[in-house]
């Protein structure tokens, strides 16, 4: 009798043990390499945003003073991704909006000032910018009402909840009659959460879907509103000269401010406080290890 099944079973056991040996070799392997890397301080892992990001542009102008970033910088295309990497990488440093601060990352003080909403409002925290919405000409109808809603107590409460820096509100929003149709808002992913949440509440208030919001990025926002495919464009930056020439009628509307926090891993015990110059030197690659900064 030929017993194929028994054979396969035997081979299965053999295969399992081979796999186990493989695992063992890998662990040994890793043990060897690990010992090589100890007692060398903590290498800095620089994390930044992608080239098309408005946040990066702001950071480049105001922190880097338009100097080059180190080429070894890891590039992420969202605040969340920067946060994710910093929270799992001991030596990492990154920059995100204040809304992304939580217990998984630690914000360093800049020039001795803590990264908090209050300090941005007070004007002492140095890295902050305005978040904008643009309309083609002065806003009317739904757009006007929605911008009013954003400026109201209700709107600015959302701003605060999401960790952005509110403006002084214009008081409680008063519902008006006769709004018809719908508008679309397109643009910056940074402004998106505020617009999305405000739109949700605004639509609930009127019992109708008056406002639809989608992302796409600051540039898409500016272009869409300029070309007329969206009524409001969102941007986390100011207009560029090329954009003001293409679309001369755009009107800026400041939604709120955004503080940018420099974040490190909670297990990083080397620093609590950095100067803007030190941040710049980290990002241009002058410092490569945290013990140089201790």
């Amino acid at each position: 009798m030929i017993d194929i099944q028994k054979k396969t079973k035997k081979e299965g056991i053999f295969a399992l043990s081979l796999l186990a040996i493989l695992m063992l070799v890998i662990t040994l392997f890793s043990g060897c390499t690990q010992t090589n890397n100890e007692n060398q301080g903590l290498p800095i892992v620089v994390v930044g945003r992608d080239s098309a990001s408005g946040t990066r542009e702001f950071f480049w102008e105001h922190v880097m003073k338009k100097g080059n970033f180190t080429t070894t910088m890891l590039e992420k295309n969202s605040n969340g991704a920067v946060h994710q990497t910093v929270s799992t990488t001991q030596g990492a440093i990154g920059y995100v909006g204040l809304g992304y601060l939580d217990e998984e990352v630690k914000a360093v003080k800049i020039n001795g000032i803590e990264a908090t909403v209050a300090n941005v409002v007070a004007g002492t925290y140095p890295i902050s910018r305005a978040l904008n919405m643009y309309t083609n000409g002065e806003p009317t109808g739904i757009a006007l009402e929605f911008l009013k809603y954003l400026d109201s107590t209700e709107g600015q409460a959302i701003v605060e909840d999401e960790g952005f820096v509110p403006k002084t509100s214009t008081g409680s929003y008063v519902k008006v009659d006769g709004l018809l149709g719908s508008i679309t808002i397109v643009g910056s992913t940074t402004v998106l959460p505020i617009a999305q949440l405000a739109a949700e509440d605004f639509n609930t208030l009127y019992g109708e879907n008056l406002v639809a919001v989608s992302g796409g990025g600051s540039s898409v926002g500016v272009q869409s509103v300029g070309e007329g495919s969206a009524i409001i464009g969102m941007a986390s930056r100011e207009l560029k000269s090329s954009e003001t020439t293409s679309y001369p009628n755009l009107v800026k509307h400041i939604v709120c401010n955004d503080g940018i926090a420099i974040i490190i891993n909670p297990e990083n015990t080397y620093v609590e406080d950095l100067t803007l110059e030190q941040v710049q030197d980290i990002y241009d690659g002058t410092y490569t290890n945290w013990d140089e900064l201790e």
């Binding site: 992608d50 992913t189 600051s218």
Partner: protein, 645 residues
């Protein structure tokens, strides 16, 4: 008179002929569609590349990519990054996949095979965002902890993820090649007293070699074109690793550059044109790879048919053997050097000793034991694949099961997806794939009917087939950029459902074409002859005799296409999607889609609630795609059973 009676059928015959011609031209149009798409992709990408903000030479050879700050547009480090990540992925994927393919086709009993094969096909069904999600959270942490490097977002992480993603492609194609080796060869060898392993080594692998090579090249093509997963795990620093073999260096590929920068780039600026230049470069690289694969697969088919040409050996046999020996020893030395540089002296020494021992024992081990060792290694390869699949699946399930509920599926997302459910992205995904399949199915099926039923093999069919193969190998992000340039900007559709549907349709046409063609070819020629013999026209034959038995195969292809379309992010990211909680009311409005929703809430929305929702979304997406794939596999298995025995 008699003449009239004769003329009448002739006239009706003319009419019939005209009808037949019309039908044929419709199918012909669908068939050349693939070529048209390829050329329009090339055309629109190149159109948007112009004017390139730098000269072509410095674009290709420059090593600094700083498109917004120092305005340098060198893509060389990106190209090197792409090649290195792919190289690493292949070092991981090739042995595992070919081992797996051999195990499935030659060693596994039919019961084991019926479990393993679908498992590997499921691995192909996992959406790349899900791979990225897994890689970012689990794999990079493992690499960081195990190897003690500052960050796990490295070339190694990228290669591992890409390797895993390439495994199913290579395994299935290689398995097909191995299965195509005539049974007579195998029996001939076994009858000579060769062991199973000797037969595999000396007869099966050499006979299947060009098929296996083609499988590897297709795997390379897949790896080069992957976007979403790779951009999440390999750090995206635009540098060439120093030293070049530093697998712990972060790295950036062409695709991830497109993936992270295209969405926010100002249209019409230098950065925008440079990104389209990157897309053209990427497309060129994949075209070269795919043309090589097509060519190689072509040579197999030729070789199987014709008797071999007389070939005079340029060198004597002994000289050839000598040359081979020199090359192998040089290769070995090179590998040793690489090993030394990467891992250090101690490990190299240990490995050399182990290798040497094995070499000396080689002749002492009986063929039987050698076979045991070989089979166990192959078994280990398969086991590894299953283990990987298990880890990924269990991770996604554990993370997502908590969020899953009826409300989660039926409610619209609220508060940026932190509350409410995922009804709009779920419905949006269904809208997208429904539209895509409605467009792709007629074109794909029509093209394959033309190829199998209306023409003999000639230059034109070769071109059509090559076009489909090239389309199949085109990276999904390139489809996305094309959709953006053509539908969104040129045709002024804006971000819209219809733009996404058409872009996805273009992407899945080759899948449908290929599976349909296979299904049509498996219908025996005798059936067609039988139908013609009773006076049926060609179209009647196709409709009544050929299509019914091929239907399950066609449906399988369609479902595989749906599964692929449902899981893709890159093609819709620039054409159709919005992070919204509305249902679109017209084809010109943007929609939300599951993979995009997952991508946004896992990367753009802070807070624990969002993480929880992301886990749930990943699970639903996975279940949806795997569901489609399972249905396809079930249909195919059922069909195979009923058709063959």
């Amino acid at each position: 008179m008699n003449t009239k009676k004769i003329i009448n059928p002739l006239i009706s015959g003319k009419k019939r002929k005209r009808n037949e011609k019309a039908i044929k031209s419709v199918f012909f149009l669908t068939a050349i569609f693939g070529i048209i798409i390829i050329f329009s992709i090339l055309f629109f990408l190149i159109r948007e590349t112009y004017p390139l903000p730098t000269d072509i030479w410095s674009f290709l050879s420059g090593t600094i990519w700083s498109p917004t700050e120092s305005l340098q547009f060198g893509t060389f480090s990106l190209t090197v990054g792409t090649l290195l990540v792919t190289l690493g992925a292949m070092i991981i994927a090739i042995p595992i996949s070919i081992g797996g393919a051999l195990f499935i086709s030659e060693i596994a009993s039919s019961r084991v095979r019926s479990i393993i094969k679908p498992a590997i096909e499921l691995l192909a069904g996992i959406p790349s965002v899900v791979y990225g999600f897994f890689g970012l959270i689990i794999l990079t942490t493992w690499i960081k902890d195990i190897f003690g490097v500052p960050t796990g977002e490295t070339w190694l992480a990228g290669s591992i993820i890409l390797g895993i993603m390439a495994i199913p492609t290579i395994t299935t194609v290689a398995e097909d090649a191995i299965k195509a080796v005539p049974r007579e060869f195998k029996e001939g060898s076994l009858a000579m007293g060769a062991t199973k392993w000797q037969t595999i080594q000396k007869v099966i692998i050499p006979s299947a070699l060009s098929g296996i090579t083609a499988a590897i090249i297709l795997g390379i093509g897949r790896a080069v074109g992957e976007t979403m997963a790779i951009l999440m795990v390999c750090g995206n620093a635009a540098i060439i690793p120093t030293p070049l073999w530093n697998i712990f260096s972060p790295i950036r590929t062409l695709t991830s550059t497109l993936g992270i920068e295209t969405a926010e780039v100002p249209v019409g600026g230098p950065h925008y044109h440079a990104l389209f230049g990157v897309a053209v470069l990427l497309l060129m690289i994949t075209l070269i790879i795919n043309i090589t694969a097509v060519y190689l697969l072509g040579t197999i088919q030729k070789r199987q048919g014709a008797t071999s040409k007389k070939k005079k050996h340029l060198f004597s046999i002994t000289l050839l053997i000598k040359i081979k020996k020199i090359f192998t020893s040089l290769g070995l030395l090179f590998i040793l050097l690489l090993l030394y540089l990467i891992t250090g002296l101690l490990i190299t020494a240990i490995l050399v000793i182990i290798g040497g021992l094995l070499w000396f024992m080689r002749n002492k081990i009986s063929q039987k034991n050698l076979q045991k060792i070989a089979f166990s290694t192959l078994g280990a390869a398969i086991l590894l694949i299953i283990v990987i699949l298990g880890i990924i699946l269990s991770y996604i399930i554990i993370n997502g099961a908590g969020a899953l509920s009826w409300e989660f599926l039926t409610e619209a997302p609220k508060r940026l997806g932190r509350e409410g459910g995922i009804s709009t992205p779920l419905i949006g995904t269904l809208y997208l794939v429904a539209g895509a399949i409605a467009i792709a199915l007629p074109i794909g099926v029509g093209a394959s009917i033309y190829l199998t039923e209306y023409t003999k093999e000639n230059t034109l069919t070769k071109i059509i087939r090559t076009g489909a193969d090239l389309l199949n190998g085109t990276p999904s992000i390139v489809f996305g950029l094309f959709g953006f340039a053509f539908f969104v900007l040129y045709l002024k559709f804006g971000f819209s459902l219809i733009a996404g549907q058409i872009t996805l349709a273009f992407m899945i046409i080759p899948t449908i074409l290929r599976t349909t063609e296979e299904a049509l070819r498996s219908v025996p020629q005798s059936l067609r002859e039988g139908s013609y013999a009773v006076g049926a026209t060609r179209w009647q034959t196709i409709r009544r005799v050929v299509l019914p038995p091929a239907a399950p195969g066609i449906i399988t292809g369609a479902i595989l296409g749906i599964g692929r379309a449902a899981g893709e992010t890159a093609p819709i990211m620039f054409t159709a999607v919005a992070f919204s909680s509305f249902f679109p009311t017209s084809l010109l409005e943007p929609v939300n889609a599951l993979p995009y929703h997952l991508f946004i809430i896992s990367t753009n929305v802070p807070g624990a609630a969002a993480k929880n929702a992301a886990g749930g979304t990943a699970l639903v997406l996975l279940l949806l795609v795997i569901g489609f794939y399972s249905i396809a596999i079930l249909i195919r298995n059922h069909y195979q059973k009923t058709m063959k025995w």
